[in-house]
């Protein structure tokens, strides 16, 4: 393994103008509010993405950097996610899909998994108490719910039931989700239909497969944009089919540090791309 000097990854975003802030994320007095107001001014409601996907990476590293336990990192991640949901709701984004737990994460230690499950329950609880009633947020969960603990499953079904008719931001939480399994499950459903005789093999096409995917809830199944924190440049098996034409935004910030100004910057970068028109050879 070659020891490397880590160069500044300058390809993580395309900014319409320079934003001046320190690399540790510490703000001088009042500067954060000014930054938020300035970025909000750049955003155009017409080009706002309808569906944003979010990979919340970096809780463990954030805690390690501060000398805390991993659990504290997850806790601050949970709090940050609630604020981000609130911000997205205010900005007029229609759907937000967050990658909470992947099928590969089942390989982590049992203690961490148990803590994560309680964190998810607490998060859903705080959603129910606060955002659902005051901001009309609708909650859904996708993934292999059967692998989750009973209490979490009942909390999910309760929250889904309660917010079914809400018209605000649709928050989708992906727990025990894998993009590949999603497609395979859809193929299984279609295979069953073929077996029963209600469908011919030659009739199977993309649209049919897309309909059977887990994410076919809500108005906008395909994300316009994916945000991944903590500087990793990959997809990690999230929303594979649905991200075919989405813009990616990779941020170097760790997830608990990813605040409103970073979200606004990501949206500004998306809008800059979209309003400039796609000049690329590919959609």
């Amino acid at each position: 393994m070659i020891p490397l000097v880590l160069f500044h990854n300058s390809m993580s975003s395309l900014k319409p103008c320079r934003a001046t802030k320190t690399t540790t994320g510490e703000w001088p007095n009042g500067a954060r509010e000014n930054e938020v107001i300035r970025l909000r001014g750049y955003l155009n409601q017409e080009f706002m993405p309808k569906h944003v996907a979010l990979i919340m990476d970096g809780n463990g590293r954030w805690a390690k950097k501060r000398g805390l336990a991993v659990q504290d990192g997850h806790k601050s991640g949970r709090i940050n996610l609630k604020y981000l949901t609130y911000n997205c709701s205010n900005l007029g984004i229609k759907m937000l899909t967050a990658y909470a737990f992947s099928t590969e994460n089942w390989n982590r230690s049992r203690m961490e998994i148990a803590f994560l499950m309680t964190t998810f329950e607490e998060f859903i609880q705080s959603l129910v108490e606060d955002l659902m009633t005051r901001h009309d947020i609708r909650f859904s969960a996708i993934g292999e719910k059967s692998r989750l603990p009973e209490s979490l499953q009942s909390a999910i079904s309760k929250a889904e039931e309660m917010s079914r008719t809400n018209k605000g931001l649709h928050f989708v939480m992906a727990m025990s989700y894998s993009g590949r399994n999603d497609v395979v499950e859809a193929a299984k459903i279609i295979a069953k239909k073929v077996e029963r005789g209600t469908l011919q093999t030659s009739e199977i096409d993309e649209a049919m497969l897309e309909q059977e995917l887990m994410t076919n809830i809500g108005q906008f199944p395909n994300p316009d944009m994916l945000i991944r924190t903590s500087g990793e440049l990959r997809l990690s098996n999230f929303l594979m089919w649905q991200l075919a034409y989405s813009q990616f935004y990779f941020s170097d910030k760790l997830f608990p540090d990813f605040g409103e100004e970073d979200l606004l910057e990501a949206l500004a970068s998306y809008q800059y791309r979209v309003s400039a028109g796609f000049e690329s050879d590919w959609k």
Partner: protein, 276 residues
């Protein structure tokens, strides 16, 4: 006399550059080298516009860049290269443009598979991934001939994704799976498994790519290798495709080497978790 000496100087310089490049690759080989690299060839038309050429010249320069990069990858030790040449979405462009690309592809394929062509020289096996039924007759025949002629080469596999979209690939794989199960008979209760779907994909000829490089700074996958890139490093330099060079390759490989131990673990976890 002068002409001879200048060509000697040029040759010396050329061999020096080649020596330095091989030294750099040997240095890189201390760490893990990706087995499979995927490229999205984006920016040919913008390059043509920038240098006031017409699109056809832009594509030709892009092809030269592809050959250049293929040589570098071969020297580095990469075993599989996948290139995204034409998407099913691109058929919706103007007919003249589609015709230009198709003609150029036909010309290049036929040039490549000649005996003294670059493919046989370097031992490159060509595979065409995609819904080849959508291509016109001469192109499809040339593609199949190329696959046949180079089937014995072992050094490097070049997978050309033409008339390809990942969603179409997955839908076709599902269709093939169902057809398979129907042929096998309905006595046993057989469900579609992940391994079945993977077996029927167009890209089953190559393992999952470790690096995906998309030029011209666009940060999208555009329906390319969605299934296979869940654990690949995505790299998106701002250079247009004809401008891509050795430095982008080196940077991509260095980035890959930085995260490789973690990705290796993740890849094993992905297979373990899907066994359940």
């Amino acid at each position: 006399m002068e002409k001879q000496s200048s060509s000697v100087v040029v040759r010396l310089l050329g061999s020096l550059v080649g020596y330095m490049r091989r030294f750099l690759f040997r240095f890189l080989s201390v760490g893990p080298i990706p087995r499979h690299m995927a490229f999205i060839l984006d920016g040919n038309r913008r390059y043509a516009r920038k240098w006031k050429m017409d699109d056809r010249m832009g594509y030709k320069v892009g092809f030269l860049a592809l050959m250049r990069l293929m040589r570098c990858c071969h020297e580095l030790g990469v075993k599989y290269i996948t290139v995204y040449v034409f998407s099913i979405e691109n058929f919706k462009r103007r007919p003249e443009e589609v015709q230009t690309v198709m003609e150029l592809m036909l010309e290049k394929i036929e040039g490549l598979i000649k005996e003294e062509g670059i493919l046989n020289q370097y031992g490159v096996r060509v595979e065409f991934a995609g819904n080849l039924k959508l291509l016109s007759e001469p192109v499809r025949i040339a593609a199949e001939k190329a696959m046949r002629v180079t089937a014995h080469n072992k050094s490097l596999v070049l997978v050309v994704a033409v008339a390809y979209t990942s969603t179409d690939e997955m839908a076709q794989a599902a269709q093939e799976c169902c057809r398979d199960k129907a042929d096998r008979g309905s006595q046993q209760q057989q469900l579609v498994e992940l391994a079945d779907v993977e077996r029927h994909m167009y890209m089953a000829v190559a393992p999952d790519p470790e690096i995906l490089l998309r030029t011209s700074g666009e940060k999208r996958l555009s329906n390319f290798l969605l299934w296979q890139t869940s654990n690949s490093v995505l790299y998106s330099p701002a250079a247009l495709w004809p401008e891509v060079g050795l430095r982008h390759l080196v940077w991509a490989v260095l980035n890959f080497q930085r995260v490789q131990p973690y990705l290796h673990k993740r890849r094993n976890h992905l297979y373990l978790s899907t066994q359940q």
